[in-house]
């Protein structure tokens, strides 16, 4: 860095005389190399360990369990997810139809445009995977559907779905 120079006097020492001559300043050189080395070491350490990305969250608002809301069947869209991940949708008492995850958003947007009062009910099987639910909630959010609810998948639902297969 600043060379290997340490204390390097630049001028001669002033002779002691009767008249005081202004003493010449010593140019002090401190070897900064070790300090800078440590600084770089710490810098690399902090750069490598820093994680900027804070985890993201999804906010869920669930109605308290004692509150019941009545909706007309024609306004109710049911999404059922079986344990193997297949997804079926229907409105009211229609026969369920199969839908793929990638087509879900389009379907949701379409249906909600047709009927703005539509409420989506998401039923995921107990044996299903958690990420399936998160995926659906994500799609609902991306489709700007705020009116949805979660419910357990019962045997009645499984019979419903069996009609489609």
């Amino acid at each position: 860095m600043a060379g290997g120079g340490d204390f390097a006097p630049t001028g001669g020492r002033a002779k002691k005389g009767k008249k005081r001559k202004p003493t010449k300043r010593l140019g002090i050189r401190i070897d900064m190399t070790p300090m800078v080395d440590i600084a770089f070491l710490l810098l690399t350490f902090f750069m490598l360990t820093t994680v900027f990305r804070a985890p993201q969250t999804m906010e869920l608002n669930m109605p308290p369990s004692e509150v019941t809301v009545e909706i007309a069947e024609s306004n109710l869209m049911t999404l059922r997810i079986l344990d193997d991940g297949t997804m079926f949708w229907n409105i009211g008492i229609e026969i369920p139809e199969r839908v793929e995850m990638k087509d879900l958003r389009k379907l949701l947007i379409e249906r909600n445009k047709q009927n703005p009062k539509l409420v989506t009910l998401v039923k995921v099987d107990r044996k299903g995977k958690y990420y399936q639910m998160v995926d659906i909630l994500d799609e609902l959010q991306l489709a700007n559907v705020g009116r949805f609810s979660l419910a357990p998948l019962t045997d009645v639902d499984k019979k419903e779905v069996a009609k489609a297969i």
Binding site: L42, F46, V51, R53, Q56, V134
Partner: protein
């Protein structure tokens, strides 16, 4: 003919600006770094497009592992000690069964009403367990909670 030996000129580069920048970066990284607390369980989070940030303080974290074990943790060490006993105060989360979870949730919220609940579940966890935990949350009047997810990269 021999070339006359050239005298090497010692090269001196002024490193001061570089070192200045290095120190600036160093202080920046030192001040912004937050060390990740050691986790009691490893969970692989599911991906979503949600961009709401996880609150930094006053959170109850309910972790559900891949095998369906439920862990509960709070961020303040003091509250942890009073909830789970002194021997568990350094652990980030404590494994609980469902009935204890209910009482601990109520206890935690009576001690600190500002606590928010986040669910941190493994993406391959069985949905049934998650549903049971959500039912408990509803029963203890926590109707608003967050699900921790990773930002989808695609």
């Amino acid at each position: 003919m021999k070339k006359p030996h050239k005298k090497r000129v010692p090269i001196r580069i002024d490193m001061t600006p570089m070192v200045d920048v290095a120190f600036l970066l160093l202080t920046f990284f030192m001040l912004t770094t937050q060390f990740k607390p050691p986790e009691e369980v490893d969970v692989i989070l599911p991906d979503s497009n949600s961009v709401i940030k996880l609150p930094e303080r006053d959170v109850i974290t309910l972790t559900i592992s891949k095998t369906g074990e439920v862990f509960m943790g709070v961020d303040s060490q003091f509250l942890r000690a009073s909830l789970f006993g002194d021997e568990n105060k350094l652990r980030m989360a404590v494994q609980l069964d469902m009935p204890t979870l209910t009482s601990k949730l109520i206890e935690a919220r009576t001690r600190n009403a500002k606590l928010r609940t986040v669910l941190k579940c493994d993406k391959d966890a069985e949905y049934g367990v998650v549903m049971d935990v959500m039912d408990i949350l509803l029963k203890t009047n926590i109707s608003r909670f967050n699900l921790v997810t990773n930002l989808e990269t695609s």
